[in-house]
């Protein structure tokens, strides 16, 4: 028996399912799997037979993978395999962005830099080996980390790329800045409470939106303003902060010791990645696909440089894309910025007056007169707010003045009881 087991292991190691299949067919059906395999299934699947997942012949060695359409799972979990048809597996949006940007300079860019996050099997999210379970926040952030929404939910913002800033808490091999967590995270909610398996299988981003659970209290001053309720996504006010990267630089280096002068976290043998400026305060606002005011951020303002034998190849700091995305920061708090955080705040709406610029990317040859002006930039899934809309929104109407004063009076009253609202 031991000899047989060894033979099977050798076959498995050789990676040939066909050979293994042949090996299993020679066994008598009654031969218990445990004679050869010592795997122990724990959790909800502990009571199942091996064949329930691994096929009647026991020849489905990887029952959860994209290659065999999660055949071992989909028997019970109907349509589970549809997960492979959507964003987390196809990464269509990311691939398309690369096509529009860095791949213009390096056709292999995606393969070289973006292969880390890719759902190819159920077990990517649902546990290890035979310990199958439901994913928690930590599971999700194994991909949804760094600049991507997910890390923010659990109070993490990306640090600067320079080695000087690589310190503090670490998560999935990356240091993070400690931020205020999302209020839903504080009360123990998992990603899956809003992003259900069903919704993901259907290719939907989310199963439950804010208003599916929350009924906005009209007593709240901001909620009493109609325009807020009809023209804004909830996150426009309730996202407390968001990671923003202004100028993402990928530098391809071949046979170039100069890469060592860029004292940043290494990305790969061929690439050095750095950023011109990072922020993690309240993000700018624009319009999303639904035409509602929503947070927007660069995703990405993409620059590319190349060097070979320590000599530049082609134009350096090529601006390949200046694309923004309307998004949903997972940094929800009950509180918000005060009225002037939006009204009259031109920078917040990408209308920074030239005379009020602090950063001057134009003087560094970055091809943009300001990061916070729409000139030369686009929102891929929405639009920038127009100057007219901004002027209208910033008008101090009678109603605005009244509510504005009320808001400050409410903030400044010293009354412990009222703080609960």
């Amino acid at each position: 028996m031991i000899r047989l087991k060894n033979a099977l292991i050798a076959l498995l190691v050789s990676g040939s399912c066909v050979t293994a299949h042949a090996a299993h067919t020679q066994l008598k059906m009654a031969t218990p799997c445990q004679n050869c395999h010592d795997s122990v299934v724990v959790g909800a699947h502990a009571t199942l037979l091996c064949q329930d997942c691994h096929g009647a012949d026991g020849d489905l060695f990887e029952p959860t993978t994209i290659d065999n359409k999660a055949h071992g799972c989909s028997g019970c979990h109907k349509q589970a395999e549809h997960i492979f048809d959507h964003a987390m597996s196809t990464r269509e949006a990311e691939q398309q962005f690369c096509q529009r940007s860095w791949s213009q300079a390096d056709p292999q860019f995606f393969e070289r830099n973006c292969m880390g996050c890719h759902v190819t099997r159920c077990l990517d999210c649902h546990g290890e080996g035979h310990a199958i379970n439901l994913p928690d926040v930590e599971t999700c952030v194994s991909c949804h980390n760094g600049y991507f929404v997910g890390w923010d939910y659990s109070s993490r913002a990306p640090r600067e790329d320079s080695v000087r800033y690589q310190r503090g808490g670490q998560n999935h091999g990356q240091y993070f800045l400690k931020m205020r967590p999302d209020v839903h995270f504080e009360v123990g909610m998992d990603c899956s409470d809003c992003h259900t398996m069903t919704s993901l299988q259907e290719g939907k981003i989310v199963a439950r939106r804010c208003v599916d659970c929350h009924d906005p209290d009209p007593q709240v001053i901001e909620h009493s303003i109609d325009a807020h309720m009809y023209k804004l996504e909830c996150v426009s006010c309730h996202a407390a902060w968001a990671a923003q990267e202004y100028g993402s630089f990928y530098i391809q280096t071949r046979n170039s010791s100069n890469r060592d002068y860029f004292r940043v976290k290494p990305v790969s043998d061929q690439y050095v990645k750095s950023a011109y400026l990072k922020r993690q305060d309240v993000p700018p606002l624009g319009l999303n696909e639904r035409g509602l005011v929503a947070p927007i951020r660069p995703q990405f303002i993409a620059y590319y440089s190349e060097m070979k034998n320590n000599q530049p190849v082609g134009e350096e700091n090529r601006l390949l894309a200046a694309q923004w995305k309307a998004f949903t920061p997972h940094t929800i708090r009950r509180g918000t910025v005060m009225c002037d955080g939006c009204h009259g705040n031109a920078r917040r709406f990408m209308l920074e007056p030239l005379s009020r610029r602090i950063y001057r990317p134009d003087m560094d040859g970055l091809g943009l007169e300001s990061f916070w002006r729409s000139v030369g930039q686009t929102v891929v899934n929405g639009a920038f707010y127009s100057p007219d809309q901004f002027t209208r929104m910033s008008q101090k109407t009678t109603e605005y003045k009244r509510k504005y004063v009320e808001k400050w009076q409410n903030f400044l009253k010293k009354d412990a009881d009222s703080s609960a609202n």
Partner: protein
């Protein structure tokens, strides 16, 4: 005998210096034929350098030279520059840029470094600001972590020490630090073939009697980074991008790179550092001050007036007036009868004139005239309460702020002590959390006025013992008897054309010290947090919970402190008026506001009777 020789030497030097003709029999020029003249009045090699001009053999001729590279170094300056420029040398010897007394004092304050006595780069007896004698102790004797940190980190920015391994930040020592500037890599590029390409040397042998901004940048590119901000440069996130010729662009010492920001309006108008800063600011006035803000005599009000008082003026009545002497190398020299504007210490500027009712600053190097706008009696500067503001609380755009300075002191390694000139046990290294330029917090400064702050410093110390074991982790030192982080009042030298708008500041609690935040009820929730507390902002010094305000960081400097609850509430309450009365010239702001009127006022404004 040696004293006799010294007298002979000094007399010879004096004679030579006084002589306007190069000695025809000098052998120096045989090798250094094309060497630039220092200046029209500095023509004799031996007078400054020592050595023997009569010997043709290089080694023997150079044997008695001072240096031989830099006779202006502190170990020679008494015998070289100081022979003629005794007044300047004496001032420089008590000058903070030479003593670094302020550096050491502040480091001791924030690194639990003791408070007994005052330290300097070398022991000396001098006179304090009040005219009383004062003994400065040698920092090489300061046997604690504060002293060691100064010697191993900060002491390179000290005009007594040559720094020649820093790209764009190298400088000579002594007088030459400012008057014989190094280029980016400290290499001689003048006409003398015997010296060309040699390192470390000044860029040429020509003296810069009026140092350029680039000279100031040699040191003032770190810490407050004022020489960068002034010129529109930002030592931002050390991201090393953009790229230029396959290197990081705009590199500056210490693996840093600078990027562009909007420059100070004075820079854009063509003013250089020395156009505002007097020689007494930068070279001292002979008294040993304890901090640079005490030595500095220039203030915004000098040229622009205060809300209530126009600039002070004084006529030049003597031919040997200090300003006449100082302006000798300027394009525009001060003459008898000129009316000069006075500094905050009541001493005359040598380049700011009062003519036909106008304050006119004249560029020292280029002679360009700049008419200064005087703001006295303008309504927007008469706002009740704003008499407590520094000009640059409103007239500022970017304030460089480095949040979270995590310093490791590792006793299992050695570090170079620039003062003791040897490796000793213990190496410092730093990591950081985040940098930002805007917004910034305000608090009370040393004058009791409201000024911008920068972290100064949020130091977290980790100590490793000789075996590399952590014995102290992320330790916050005691300041004013309490473990607390610190902020420092600061003028970042980045004044924009237009002041910050009223609501931009009043309606954003970040400026009051809360950091980036959201407001919930009567609480301010900071969103960028200190690792040592779940509520404390990393980028602020204050929290507000259920209407109660609690500062948790100190503001360094005497008379400085965080804003208190009354001040915070007062600054925020005015938003009730600003929504209608947005113009700072509105007369309502020139009297104390009666908030009991708000309701009535609002009814009027919104048409409700």
């Amino acid at each position: 005998m040696s004293r006799f020789l010294l007298v002979i030497f000094i007399v010879t030097c004096w004679l030579l210096t006084g002589c306007q003709q190069g000695k025809p029999e000098s052998q120096c020029e045989r090798c250094h034929a094309a060497l630039e003249l220092v200046s029209a009045s500095h023509t004799d090699c031996i007078a400054c350098h020592g050595g023997d001009a009569s010997i043709s053999d290089k080694k023997s001729a150079h044997a008695s030279m001072m240096g031989p590279r830099n006779p202006a170094a502190p170990m020679f300056w008494e015998k070289s520059c100081g022979q003629c420029h005794a007044y300047q040398l004496r001032r420089l010897q008590s000058n903070l840029m030479f003593t670094n007394t302020g550096f050491v004092k502040n480091i001791r304050l924030t690194w639990e470094g003791g408070s007994e006595g005052l330290y300097a780069t070398r022991a000396q007896s001098t006179f304090a600001a009040n005219g009383e004698p004062v003994e400065l102790l040698a920092v090489s004797e300061l046997d604690n972590l504060a002293g060691e940190l100064y010697r191993k980190y900060c002491s390179l920015c000290h005009v007594g020490i040559e720094s020649h391994q820093s790209w764009r930040a190298s400088h000579a020592s002594g007088c030459a630090a400012c008057h014989f500037p190094f280029n980016d890599n400290g290499t001689y590029q003048g006409n003398d073939l015997a010296l060309r390409g040699k390192w470390p040397h000044s860029a040429t042998h020509r003296m810069e009697s009026l140092p350029t901004n680039d000279v100031c940048l040699r040191c003032h590119n770190r810490s407050g980074r004022i020489a960068l901000s002034y010129q529109g440069l930002n030592d931002g996130n050390n991201g090393a991008v953009p790229v230029k010729n396959a290197f990081p662009a705009n590199v500056i010492s210490g693996a840093r790179n600078v990027s562009h920001i909007q420059a100070d309006i004075h820079h854009d108008k063509g003013l250089e550092c020395i156009d505002c800063h007097t020689s007494r600011d930068v070279m001292g006035d002979g008294y040993a001050y304890e901090n640079m803000y005490l030595q500095t005599e220039v203030a915004c009000e000098d040229c622009h007036g205060s809300a209530t008082q126009r600039p002070d003026v004084q006529e030049v009545k003597r031919e040997n007036d200090e300003a006449v002497r100082e302006s000798r190398s300027y394009q525009r020299q001060v003459q008898l009868g000129d009316s000069l504007v006075l500094t905050s210490k009541g001493r005359a500027y040598s380049n700011v004139f009062y003519r036909e009712g106008q304050v006119i600053l004249v560029g020292k190097r280029d002679g360009h005239e700049h008419v200064s706008k005087v703001i006295t009696d303008t309504p927007e500067h008469q706002i009740v309460g704003h008499e407590r503001m520094e000009c640059y609380a409103c007239h500022i755009a970017a304030v460089p702020q480095c949040f979270g300075c995590h310093t490791q002191y590792d006793r299992s390694k050695t570090g170079y002590d620039f003062m003791l000139k040897r490796e000793t046990t213990g190496r410092f290294s730093e990591k950081e959390d985040y940098r930002s330029l805007y917004p910034f917090a305000l608090a009370l400064d040393q004058r009791g006025k409201i000024a911008p702050l920068t972290p100064g410093c949020q130091t977290f110390v980790t100590v490793l013992d000789e075996t590399g074991v952590v014995v102290k982790q992320e330790y916050v030192s005691e300041f004013r008897g309490k473990k607390q982080l610190r902020f420092a009042p600061f003028y970042s030298h980045n004044t924009p054309a237009k002041a910050v708008g009223c609501s931009e500041c009043h309606a954003n609690p970040a400026f009051l010290g809360f950091g980036q935040h959201v407001v919930e009820g009567q609480s301010v929730e900071s969103t960028l947090l200190c690792e040592q507390g779940d509520e404390l902002p990393l980028d602020g010094y204050m929290v507000m919970k259920y209407g109660t305000i609690q500062p948790f960081s100190a503001v360094v400097r005497e008379h400085s402190r965080p804003l208190n609850e009354t001040e915070v509430r007062r600054a925020l309450a005015v938003n009730q008026c600003l929504v209608c009365h947005a113009n700072p010239q509105d007369p309502i702001y020139r009297q104390v506001i009666d908030y009991d009127q708000i309701e009535e006022c609002l009814n009027r404004a919104t048409g409700i009777r």
